[in-house]
């Protein structure tokens, strides 16, 4: 399938506009169509109780279902929370309850058929690694990337589904010509959920992951989750200070890494918008013969 109902989530429309811009450009280059859902609600991000977020997410799922499309997310948290709601809504009794109590008022009914897929999964499963490889204009040779998934693209197992999804970033990095630099915490929490509750814990997590990427020789970390990006990029300076060391590890959004390899302009991908400078990465890039523009 090459068309998706697109759920951008709050953060790509708020503090990480560069994520939104880069994913739209990359999908354009891949000739994959996205139809953005503009009138749906925040997934609840695992903060709101599922008693209220399930109806909100059922509404989103019902709208995608009406369009006959799978729902594409670009945030690990959106994916995890909407994916978990979709799984609960497989239970006919629960679905009937949500339909009757919540969706009927708007004339909606969710039948339980919408598939929820993160952009990372779409790239590998719907577009294909070989196809992606064929489009590489600027191989990321000589550059090391540490994958950082965001919890909800790894766990819980029943929501994530196929086990191999836990290694997709590595596969994509290799296809784009880059080198994978593993870190022990690639599937752990970045610290973001604790930022307003227990800041020292959050900063310690951030320092640990970014510091390990640096110690292992990575040029950048790459994440499919904007909340991880807000934390690892936005809080890195404070985290490094708390850990009494310098880190300065650039953090790329997944579509930025893909976009660079496909020859897109770093500025257009929003690489200038990060807290931690990406200048060193940009300087390492080979020039592309002809400028690539996304449709």
């Amino acid at each position: 399938m090459n068309r998706f109902a697109f759920y951008p989530g709050c953060v790509s429309k708020g503090s990480c506009p560069e994520l939104y811009e880069s994913v739209v450009q990359v999908m354009g280059l891949l000739d994959m169509e996205v139809e953005e859902l503009t009138d749906v609600g925040c997934s609840g991000a695992g903060v709101l109780t599922s008693e209220v977020s399930d109806p909100i997410n059922a509404r989103t799922l019902a709208k995608a279902e009406q369009m006959g499309l799978a729902l594409m997310t670009i945030c690990s948290t959106c994916q995890g929370v909407i994916g978990a709601a979709a799984l609960r809504l497989q239970d006919p009794e629960y679905r009937a309850f949500i339909n009757k109590e919540y969706l009927a008022a708007e004339g909606l009914e969710y039948q339980g058929t919408t598939e929820v897929k993160h952009f990372l999964w779409v790239l590998v499963e719907d577009f294909g690694l070989d196809e992606l490889k064929a489009l590489v204009r600027r191989p990321l040779e000589g550059m090391g990337f540490s994958p950082f998934y965001g919890c909800y693209l790894r766990r819980p197992a029943d929501v994530v589904g196929r086990r191999e999804r836990r290694t997709y970033i590595e596969k994509i990095t290799e296809v784009l010509g880059g080198t994978v630099v593993n870190i022990s915490g690639k599937g752990k929490c970045c610290g973001f959920p604790s930022l307003t509750i227990n800041e020292p814990n959050a900063l310690a997590m951030t320092a640990k992951h970014t510091g390990e990427a640096k110690d292992n020789g990575a040029d950048a970390m790459v994440t499919p989750c904007p909340l991880c990006h807000l934390e690892l990029d936005g809080e890195q300076t404070q985290a490094a200070a708390a850990a009494r060391r310098t880190i300065e590890m650039p953090i790329l959004h997944l579509p930025q890494m893909v976009g660079l390899a496909l020859g897109l302009d770093p500025k257009g991908l929003g690489l200038g918008r990060h807290f931690v400078s990406t200048a060193k990465i940009v300087a390492q890039l080979e020039p592309v013969e002809a400028a690539v523009t996304a449709t």
């Binding site: 708020g14 503090s15 609600g41 766990r155």
Partner: protein
């Protein structure tokens, strides 16, 4: 079958670890624990490790087996074997007493005891006053199966950076009492569990559930405790107060705009416009400079009124349920 155990020897954690090799002849289906008991009985009475029931009930015999956390009485040697040997290390995050024996008191029991375990009877189901049904007890029974093996704590992202975090094992124990219909201390327990290093410090990364070998789903149990705390309107306790602020700001944002205004939620969570605004100022200014944020008030999304209606309905539905 003949195999070799390479077991970490030495006192405490600070000294350099040395490994001692023991060769044993056991059946393939022998558990790692039983094989180690055989070593201790027949070869080296000074080898120290924990273990008790040997049938997967007490959770005491957890060790790192070839780098993986295992309840060793439930792991067969044939399964554990890697290159004809089995490497045994003490579990992480617990003080090591000697060899692979960990300090269970400091690892888990001090944390459990900080929550006054034990049902404080409220009279339900006694003398015919109120029957406790099978359905009422089902979720509790699942948590009661927890062996306190602490494997969830060993996977915990928060304990990894803060050993004082109470952790999923101890918090699952709290759940077991809060959700027990016979217990009369639910509210006090939720207040205690909402202090710093309690339920609100959990980052819901689902590592605990992923690690638990007994399908207790401890991450979910923590989330249930948080939901209960929100439902009971508990605002006392350091963590509860801060979490309530964050929760309320989040809820207000989604309810009124249909989506999340991260900037405003952060300001409110840190303690309102003055305190929170000051705290967020450096990040905010840096974000503005980089074109990551703007100063315009958050616009409503097209579906905002429909989302607001869902919240109103949710309040009605849960009110009738309560």
């Amino acid at each position: 079958m003949e195999l070799t155990f390479n077991v970490r020897r030495g006192d405490g954690r600070t000294k350099d670890a040395t490994y001692q090799a023991y060769h044993v002849d056991v059946e393939p289906e022998t558990s790692v624990f039983e094989a180690l008991v055989k070593v201790r009985e027949e070869q080296d009475g000074t080898l120290a490790f924990r273990g008790n029931c040997a049938v997967g009930f007490c959770g005491d015999c957890t060790m790192l087996v070839n780098g993986r956390q295992e309840v060793t009485c439930l792991t067969t040697v044939s399964k554990a074997l890697k290159d004809d040997a089995i490497k045994i290390d003490p579990i992480p995050y617990a003080p090591t007493v000697k060899d692979v024996m960990y300090d269970a008191k400091r690892f888990i029991w001090d944390k459990v005891n900080s929550f006054s375990p034990g049902v404080v009877f409220n009279g339900a189901g006694w003398g015919g006053a109120q029957a406790v049904t099978d359905d009422d007890l089902r979720p509790v029974r699942r948590a009661m199966r927890c062996t306190m093996c602490g494997i969830c704590d060993q996977g915990c992202t928060v304990i990894d950076v803060n050993l004082d975090f109470k952790g999923p094992a101890a918090l699952t124990k709290v759940y077991r009492y809060v959700f027990d219909p016979r217990d009369g201390r639910a509210k006090e327990r939720v207040v205690e569990a909402g202090e710093t290093n309690g339920v609100w410090d959990c980052v819901h990364c689902w590592e605990a559930s992923d690690h638990c070998p007994f399908d207790i789903d401890p991450t979910h149990r923590i989330m249930d405790l948080r939901d209960r705390s929100v439902r009971l309107g508990v605002k006392s306790g350091t963590g509860n107060r801060q979490a309530a602020r964050h929760y309320n700001a989040f809820e207000r944002s989604v309810e009124n705009h249909g989506w999340l205004d991260e900037r405003n939620v952060a300001i409110q969570s840190y303690g309102g416009l003055i305190k929170g605004g000051l705290k967020m100022m450096p990040t905010g200014l840096a974000a503005l400079r980089r074109g990551k944020a703007n100063l315009l008030p958050h616009p409503k999304r097209p579906g905002a009124s429909a989302i607001k209606a869902l919240f109103a309905r949710y309040r009605e539905v849960t009110r009738t349920e309560r």
